[in-house]
């Protein structure tokens, strides 16, 4: 969003129509905001009504410039409206619940908003996506799947088609394997996802398309289709390389580092990530991400001393909850190297750090997970 969308000149006309707040969720100064509005995935876009203390719009995910312009237009209209339609009222209540982390309750109201939607309602696609996201957060995979199957024909050909199809497919894969309908649900949603993927009339952002690859790969993995999954992973890596090569700035190129590394690790070719990450390290010397990713790549290459040196550089730069990811990756490097004592000490360091984070950034679930990992480590 920051590298590709929020710098677009066509957004200038909105500059004086909103107060613009950029919230780095890793920054300690963001903790009080996060306590009020837990952020489940990044990016999350919100439009808030400060006078009424209400959530006017909420969207979890990235957006293209035209999608963002539409969101801003719709949100401004809702903010200025003297009265709201029943669908908009239900959506506002659902957004408030979802923003407070109450996803099961939010999902019911998102569903009611869709049921009350007038013909041609602007919010239909985004509400469908929000419904599926809340159902997935509430771990209701079956309802998420069946609603995606219902909703896809309604949003087909729109910018919400990718989100609905891929979210539905991800949910279908999470459905209990004993469910006799699971295979058919996956097959249908995989077909829908492929349909979006192949629809070149849709303008998809790079992360939307990359997300579609990931969902399709998950489906092939679930089907234990090794050849199909490998072929898709190769295509995914090639797509990301092409996108990075077409980038106009270093920031735009580095946007693809994360998924390119994931693709190379999945393909068993971590060495391919080294040149791009070294380039990013040169381009962004204060950023912890390039060395943190180099540590993962070198670990996969079994070059543990290089991995630890990269981890040192990342730890010198990282801050906020992300430091936990760097520390647990460092513990993994020590484990792979056979230094169990150092691995345990690093995991304990991660637990202590997790407990020291301010409310809003501290997560009891995360602390419990780290403690479980430490308990499972060999003495």
């Amino acid at each position: 969003m920051r590298a590709y969308v929020l710098t677009d000149a066509s957004l200038e006309r909105y500059a004086g129509r909103f107060v613009w707040l950029s919230l780095n969720t890793e920054d300690a100064k963001s903790a009080s905001f996060l306590k009020k509005y837990p952020i489940p995935a990044l990016p999350t876009l919100l439009v808030l009504d400060a006078k009424r203390d209400a959530v006017t719009m909420r969207y979890v995910g990235g957006a293209t410039v035209p999608q963002l312009r539409k969101m801003l237009d719709d949100a401004e209209k809702t903010y200025r409206a003297k009265s709201l339609s029943s669908a908009d009222q239900l959506l506002a209540r659902a957004n408030a619940l979802a923003s407070a982390g109450k996803d099961a309750e939010a999902a019911k109201l998102f569903d009611q908003a869709l049921g009350n939607a007038p013909k041609g309602w602007n919010g239909y696609g985004r509400t469908a996506e929000s419904l599926l996201f809340s159902l997935s957060m509430a771990r209701d995979a079956e309802r998420c799947t069946t609603r995606a199957l219902d909703l896809y024909p309604r949003v087909k050909g729109t910018s919400s088609a990718a989100g609905v199809a891929a979210s539905g497919l991800s949910c279908a894969i999470e459905v209990d394997e004993k469910n006799p309908k699971r295979a058919q649900w996956i097959a249908t949603l995989e077909k829908d996802t492929r349909e979006v993927f192949d629809d070149h009339t849709l303008t998809l952002s790079g992360d939307d398309r990359s997300g579609l690859y990931m969902s399709l790969i998950d489906a092939r993995d679930d089907a234990k289709d090794e050849a199909g999954a490998k072929k898709l992973r190769g295509e995914w890596a090639a797509f990301l390389e092409k996108s990075a090569a077409a980038a106009k700035t270093a920031e735009q190129r580095a946007v693809y580092d994360s998924h390119r590394l994931a693709a190379y690790l999945d393909l068993g070719t971590p060495e391919k990530a080294i040149p791009m990450l070294e380039q990013s390290q040169r381009d962004f010397p204060d950023d912890y991400n390039p060395p943190a990713r180099l540590a993962l790549a070198y670990n996969a290459m079994k070059e543990y001393d290089k991995a630890l040196a990269a981890s040192d550089r990342a730890l010198a730069r990282v801050y906020g909850p992300r430091k936990l990811v760097v520390l647990t990756a460092r513990a993994d490097i020590y484990t792979a190297k056979g230094d169990t004592a150092a691995a345990r000490a690093t995991m304990q360091q991660a637990i202590d750090y997790a407990k020291s984070l301010p409310e809003g950034q501290r997560s009891d679930g995360r602390i419990a997970s780290l403690e479980k990992r430490l308990a499972a480590m060999k003495q």
Partner: protein
């Protein structure tokens, strides 16, 4: 994409200041300004990863 598990493409520390006048990590200032000017607040929650 909406799935939390499918971590979205990383944001990098590029800045959008040239086009949109972002307030950095200061919710209280944003609320105060929004109330004074009667404007909605647009929030981009992101992280440098």
């Amino acid at each position: 994409m909406l799935m939390a598990a499918a971590v979205l493409l990383a944001s990098v520390a590029a800045h959008a200041k040239e086009v949109l006048p972002f307030i950095e990590n200061d919710y209280a200032t944003a609320v105060s300004r929004a109330k004074t000017k009667n404007l909605p607040i647009f929030v981009e929650a992101w992280a440098p990863w």
